[in-house]
């Protein structure tokens, strides 16, 4: 059914409702029609802005920071939200709003950096395997198969528990888990386009393989890569939360949504505000990222064009 509709649209210019026919533009327009994805996108932008500017603004206005413990002993206790502390304070008297917003910085950064690592490794690896094909491809993808079936969570827990924990190690560990799927997706896409005429033309011009891969192939497979990267961010953030819950993630006094949520979960019966705001921030962000990822996937899917 859908293929018939598509043929009609391509044959009859009157039938197509938009002016530009660039696939990026079409995808963008389809994305804008998806209300949940748009709302999710706006929410993510809001979260990023809030966690970047929030701690600065709060510090300028009130002097509270994520690790500010009041010198007045009577203030070192958990207080419910009031006019001074919009999200209350934790049991050390630290302002929760500053902590939640600062935690957002770290959580979002972990998600983005680890995704970036997986993006760089995965795209390079997959593109090289797919472009050269044959024996190279066979060996490289077999290696991915082997790595794929290693029990990663176990190795990551061992790595983080036994070595000195640092943010860098966390980034590397999380990025190293998630590049494998990316490499597979990229390789599949490269295989699909590498025999098209424009690649042949580039080769006929005598361009080096690296230029062909990074200037001609990679820009043409960005669609699926962006979709998968968007869905990797929430996965990584969830992994970070999981590791923080086990005490393996971000270390005190730094905070992240994972740390705050794990901490709040233990005290939620007595001091519920410790949990509510951190979890709301974490879950809303994960929800939005998933919604945007799904929306992007639908938007880039040619079967939804009709």
């Amino acid at each position: 059914m859908s293929s018939q509709v598509k043929t009609i649209r391509y044959d009859n210019p009157q039938m197509s409702n938009d002016t530009g026919n660039s696939p990026w533009k079409n995808a963008w327009q389809r994305l804008l029609k998806n209300k949940i994805a748009v709302a999710g996108g706006l929410l993510i932008i809001l979260m990023i802005v809030a966690s970047l500017l929030g701690p600065v603004v709060i510090k300028a206005l009130t002097g509270y920071t994520y690790d500010y413990i009041p010198s007045d002993k009577s203030l070192i206790r958990a207080m419910p939200p009031d006019w001074h502390h919009w999200m209350g304070t934790d049991d050390l008297g630290r302002d929760m709003m500053a902590r939640v917003l600062y935690g957002g910085r770290i959580s979002l950064m972990v998600g983005l950096v680890a995704t970036l690592i997986s993006l760089v490794i995965g795209v390079t690896y997959g593109a090289i395997a797919g472009y050269f094909g044959g024996k190279t491809d066979n060996i490289m993808m077999r290696a991915v198969d082997v790595l794929y079936s290693l029990p990663y969570i176990i190795l990551v827990v061992i790595l983080l528990a036994l070595f000195n924990r640092s943010l860098l190690l966390l980034f590397v560990a999380l990025g190293a888990i998630s590049w494998l799927t990316m490499a597979r997706i990229v390789r599949g896409q490269v295989l699909a386009i590498k025999n098209q005429e424009f690649i042949e033309a580039a080769r006929a011009l005598g361009l080096p393989s690296s230029t062909i891969i990074f200037r001609h192939i990679v820009p043409n497979i960005l669609g699926p890569v962006i979709v998968y990267a968007t869905l990797t961010v929430p996965t990584v953030m969830l992994e970070e939360a999981f590791l923080s819950f086990l005490g393996l993630g971000v270390q005190a006094p730094l905070s992240s949504w994972g740390v705050l949520a794990a901490d709040g979960a233990q005290k939620m019966v007595i001091w519920p505000w410790l949990l509510i705001f951190a979890v709301a921030a974490l879950s809303l962000t994960l929800f939005s990222l998933n919604a945007v990822g799904d929306g992007l996937r639908d938007a880039f899917d040619p079967q939804n064009a009709a």
Binding site: V146, P151, I153, I154, F242, F245, L246, Q266, V269, F287
Partner: protein, 396 residues
Amino acid sequence: MIRFIFRRLAVMGPMVLLVLTISFFLVRLAPGNPFTREGRQLPDSVLKNLNEKYGLDEPLYKQYANWIGRVLHFDFGPSIKYPDRNVNEIIGESITVSASIGIFAYFIALLVGLSGGVLAGYKKNSWADYLSSTVSVLGVSVPNFILGPLLVLVFSLTLYWLPPARIEWLAIAGPIDLHWLIVIFSVVVIAIYIALVYLGLGGVLLRIVSPLTHGNKKISYAILGSTGLAGLFVIVFLLRPYLHWQGVSFPLSIKIPSLRSIILPAVTLSAVYIAYIMRLTRSGMVETLGRDYIRTARAKGLSERRVIFVHALRGAVLPVVSFTGPALAGLIGGTVVVEKIFAIPGLGSYFINAAFNRDYFLLLGITAFVSTLLMLMNLLVDITYAIIDPRIRFER
């Protein structure tokens, strides 16, 4: 098919060795040791004796060789933190709880996920569809260490229906020796073998046997079944002296947790899988329902129930089967969290405690055990997949 299985088995051996090697060097090259903890400095002579006792004073390559050699005999060595028990005993004790929670969780996930996904895919864009997509996005957005305490708050601390933590034991029997483990294992393998014979592998085997039985299927199955049984008994008797050789046993305590006390942990653990399975089933269902063969099935006048559950579900369930592999891996990570929340003395909590205490042999033993188990399960999943979808077998 048989070639496929053997090819996969041949890859598995080196992979297990690779995991063992990586984890061994990761653990042993990490700074620190199990004896000096913060605030407790042992005198050098004591430290030297302790290192000698556990063989930690030897050069690293020798320790590695010793350890690998022992593991190949199913002997995971002593535990440093729990000197009264060895690693085999700890694994044997804790695996039953973890396994029962994990299996229960995956069962819940399959039941809810499949039925929700089928309904959502069949009635696309109905309220059921929206409900299921909300549930599946919520499932991946709420971490399980939040969901667990929330469930406790509602069902134990407010409604007083279920216990908030700890396991109630229904029965404690054992420890059972490894021979019983082998018997249990054999029964499972026989069940799988029979299932294989009936599902598809039988095609090849039947062709071999059929000249003897003049094509009588019942007699052929009987012959195949009894050869399978005989083969297994041979394996068991071949393995017995080998396992008894060093007096090593794998004492498996049969501790049966009460259903009441594992409901909350299992539900907590299953949430993520419900989400994934529902989503996969829904999209698979939408895709297959648009296929021509579904129209044919309807045109033949089959009942709607038959069309959905026999024709469409078989196609829609494929991605769910291939998700089982990653799900098993995730289940292990999830178990660690859930066992911590509900204070359950399972494999996961021993693992994480061993990692913090640098209890080398316990940590490595659990890693080796779980990784091998995981790879075996993955193999089973792949075989199932190859049976359901014949295209897989002929790849490469």
